[in-house]
């Protein structure tokens, strides 16, 4: 029996939660039951249309919801209990906040008469989560539930997306009221600007048309607003090089003639160097994170900056903009593109090619095509990229594995690189990968993780097994917390402090979870193992035993300017 509520029908708060989720287009919930949310779990039995994924830890629910949201564009939904259930979500909320990922999380709260009395499993959820959510609510009456959920979804998915938390007292879930979902949302203080100021857009066009060395920095905003076509059109029309941020990866195919690489601390040499040679920087849906800019005083020294973002607070926050434009980047590009004149910047592209050659010789060649020695992380990623023809969704964890995945996979389709960029949450990849696969069941999804990060959310292997999620998992095992070790190597005189990991047997572990696994420690077995994983129907894990003390290069040392990036 599939329950649905009609307007005006009497129902419990818990049933209204389920109905409201359906009305918002939800079909998947990531959650974990507990005392204060039991009425909603009871109501879920009447709503089989809502497929509930039982995670093994609430943080996993949040990351899975993020992975789901990143590939579907729909808010991911979490359902958890009060107290520890809600506090376990906090890292996931902070992660979604930093990376502008729409998720709606619902937690049960102790009954309203006990709130504030330090009741069993009571936490001030609104207080705890206020600084890591776009908005949050405490609901204590059943009549408030429908409207709150409607508002929460609206906030999560519009403007600059982000996480919204709804804490619902248990008695509000149990109380009976008449269901109503027709009321319009009234948020007079929340009106995201979509269209760019035409005068500013005109000024931007004039500056671009006059420039000799224009440079586009494409961020996550391109993917969020689905402006991939507009981005390519701008780049092609005026022949402008495009670099992406970490989250901008896959906003333009890597084989596009205008694509020049990734920005940032471990990005490519040419885009970082050329940032300080460009005369105009066109920053699209990105926020000049410190991992992109390096030392601010040494950033974009010769450039006039045109900065387009939907969040006004990002403009002039880190890098002063000559032309700041508030708006949805897709809309603003639709306004801007017709004003751009055709141009040819062949000589400017040559500068990038020169640096690319240098980076290939000094770094990439040996990383991707080594002949001897231990397996390199870069070659594993490149073989995977070649074998999947750049069509898979890659969900990377945090650290060296993340940088290698970002650098050496040749992304061809939009929304195909998912990682924890802003918060840098180790353990993100496994649950986020599960969420991504559930969101796009017909696309191949690979988790790239390290031996450290894998163990941080290893319990979600059980979720993957229980749901039989057809996810492929690659552990790049170097027996170290590689990125921290790299910093200790370079900046702490190679004094290693607490970075060595004596690891469990990952193969037995995986098999213990019911997921077939194999170990690869020879170069000539990389590709066959990847092929076996792809052929297998269902989840599959490969442990790649890789070079233990490899460093990721290029690297912009902390505090250095963008053009002080090092190749060794």
């Amino acid at each position: 029996m599939k329950k649905r509520l009609k307007e005006g029908q009497k129902a419990t708060g818990a049933e209204i939660v389920c109905e409201a989720l359906l009305r918002e287009g939800t079909d998947i919930i990531f959650g974990y039951p507990g005392g204060a949310i039991m009425p909603v779990y009871d109501a879920l039995l009447k709503y089989p249309q809502l497929h509930h994924i039982l995670v093994r830890h609430e943080q996993g629910a949040a990351h899975a919801a993020e992975g789901f949201a990143r590939v579907t564009g729909k808010p991911g939904v979490c359902l958890v209990t009060s107290g520890p259930g809600a506090t376990n979500l906090v890292t996931g909320l902070a992660d979604a906040m930093m990376d502008s990922v729409p998720i709606v999380c619902i937690s049960g709260q102790v009954i309203s008469s006990l709130i504030g009395n330090d009741a069993f499993q009571e936490t001030d959820v609104v207080g705890v989560t206020a600084m890591v959510t776009k908005h949050n609510y405490l609901v204590i009456k059943p009549e408030e539930i429908a409207e709150t959920i409607k508002e929460a979804f609206h906030l999560a998915r519009t403007g600059r997306p982000g996480p919204v938390m709804i804490d619902i007292a248990k008695d509000a879930q149990q109380g009976i009221t008449s269901f109503s979902y027709s009321k319009e949302i009234t948020l007079p203080g929340y009106r995201p600007t979509i269209t760019g100021n035409p005068k500013q857009v005109k000024r931007a066009a004039e500056i671009i048309n006059k420039s000799l060395k224009p440079f586009i920095l494409a961020g996550h905003g391109i993917l969020i607003s689905h402006a991939e076509k507009e981005l390519a059109a701008l780049a092609e029309k005026s022949h402008i090089p495009v670099a992406t941020t970490l989250h901008g990866i896959s906003s333009i195919p890597r084989d596009h003639r205008c694509y020049v690489g990734m920005l940032g601390m471990h990005g490519n040499l040419s885009p970082n160097k050329c940032t300080n040679e460009a005369d105009v920087i066109i920053a699209l849906g990105m926020r000049f994170d410190d991992r992109v800019t390096g030392k601010i005083s040494g950033y974009a020294r010769r450039a006039k900056v045109i900065h387009i973002d939907i969040d006004p607070a990002e403009l002039n926050k880190n890098v002063p903009a000559e032309v700041p434009i508030v708006g949805d980047v897709k809309h603003v590009l639709q306004q801007l593109n017709p004003l751009i004149s055709k141009a040819d910047h062949k000589d400017w592209f040559v500068r990038f090619k020169e640096y690319d050659k240098l980076e290939f010789e000094k770094v990439i060649k040996n990383e991707v095509y080594p002949k001897t020695g231990q397996i390199k992380m870069g070659e594993v990623i490149r073989r995977l990229s070649e074998e999947t023809k750049g069509q898979a969704i890659v969900v990377a964890d945090v650290g060296q594995n993340q940088m290698f995945a970002a650098r050496y996979y040749d992304f061809k389709v939009a929304d195909s690189f998912i990682t924890s960029g802003g918060l840098g949450t180790m353990g993100f990849a496994l649950p986020a990968g599960a969420g991504a696969k559930i969101g796009r069941p017909n696309q191949e999804v690979w988790v790239i993780t390290g031996d450290g990060g894998f163990q941080m959310k290893i319990q979600e292997m059980a979720t993957i097994f229980q749901e039989n999620i057809n996810l492929k998992i690659a552990i790049l095992n170097n027996n170290y917390l590689g990125m921290v070790r790299q910093w200790q190597h370079l900046f702490f005189d190679k004094k290693y402090s607490e970075v060595f990991l004596r690891n469990p047997n990952f193969i037995k572990l995986s098999e213990g979870f019911g997921i077939p696994a194999e170990k690869v420690d020879k170069r000539n077995n990389i590709l066959p193992a990847i092929k076996r994983a792809r052929k297998h129907k269902g989840p599959y894990l490969i442990e790649f035993v890789v070079e233990t003390e490899a460093n990721v290069f290029p690297m912009m040392p902390a505090g250095a300017a963008v053009d002080e990036i090092r190749l060794e």
Binding site: A130, M131, K134, P188, G189, A313, N316
Partner: protein
């Protein structure tokens, strides 16, 4: 904005919903804005509350703070008026010792000069109420200090547009 002392008044109109004070206070703390005072009260519209925030910092700081405030869903309008565009007042209460001979008369004279009101007197001390801008209250405080200030409290700036 008053360039001399680097102080700006932000007038923030918000939807009167639970938690909005917490959010604004949290933002100020998290982004490490330097505030001199913050007042909040109801307005002529029962659905709205109004914050008057006195911020220390340059133009960019004030602009950043205003943009961050707009990210709070309940925030309707943030104004950063010039000092000449507003009427701004602050109220202070001061408890001064009158144990020394002649202090009472002298304090009363000073109070008259500042148009301060005596609101309570007993043999030990008197309590005065003074309103005005920050400089006036500072000056009043300085003038009464020598008598021995037992307690001093001020409300922080509140303001209306002219």
């Amino acid at each position: 904005m008053n360039i001399k002392n680097n102080l700006s008044t932000l007038i923030v109109s918000v939807q009167n919903r639970p938690g909005v004070l917490f959010r604004i206070a949290g933002l100020i703390r998290r982004r490490r804005f330097n505030i001199e005072s913050l007042t909040v009260s109801h307005t002529e519209n029962p659905q709205l509350s109004r914050f008057t925030i006195l911020v220390r910092g340059d133009k960019e700081t004030v602009e950043k703070m205003s943009k961050q405030l707009y990210r709070i869903v309940e925030v309707l309008k943030v104004s950063d008026p010039k000092d000449v565009e507003i009427v701004a007042k602050e109220l202070a209460l001061i408890k001064v010792s009158i144990k020394k001979d002649g202090s009472r008369v002298e304090i009363t004279n000073i109070a008259n000069h500042f148009r301060a009101r005596v609101v309570n007197v007993n043999p030990e001390y008197m309590i005065l109420e003074v309103t005005g801008n920050e400089e006036k209250i500072d000056a009043f405080y300085e003038n009464t200090r020598k008598f021995g200030i037992i307690e001093f409290v001020r409300t922080g700036r509140t303001a209306l547009f002219k």
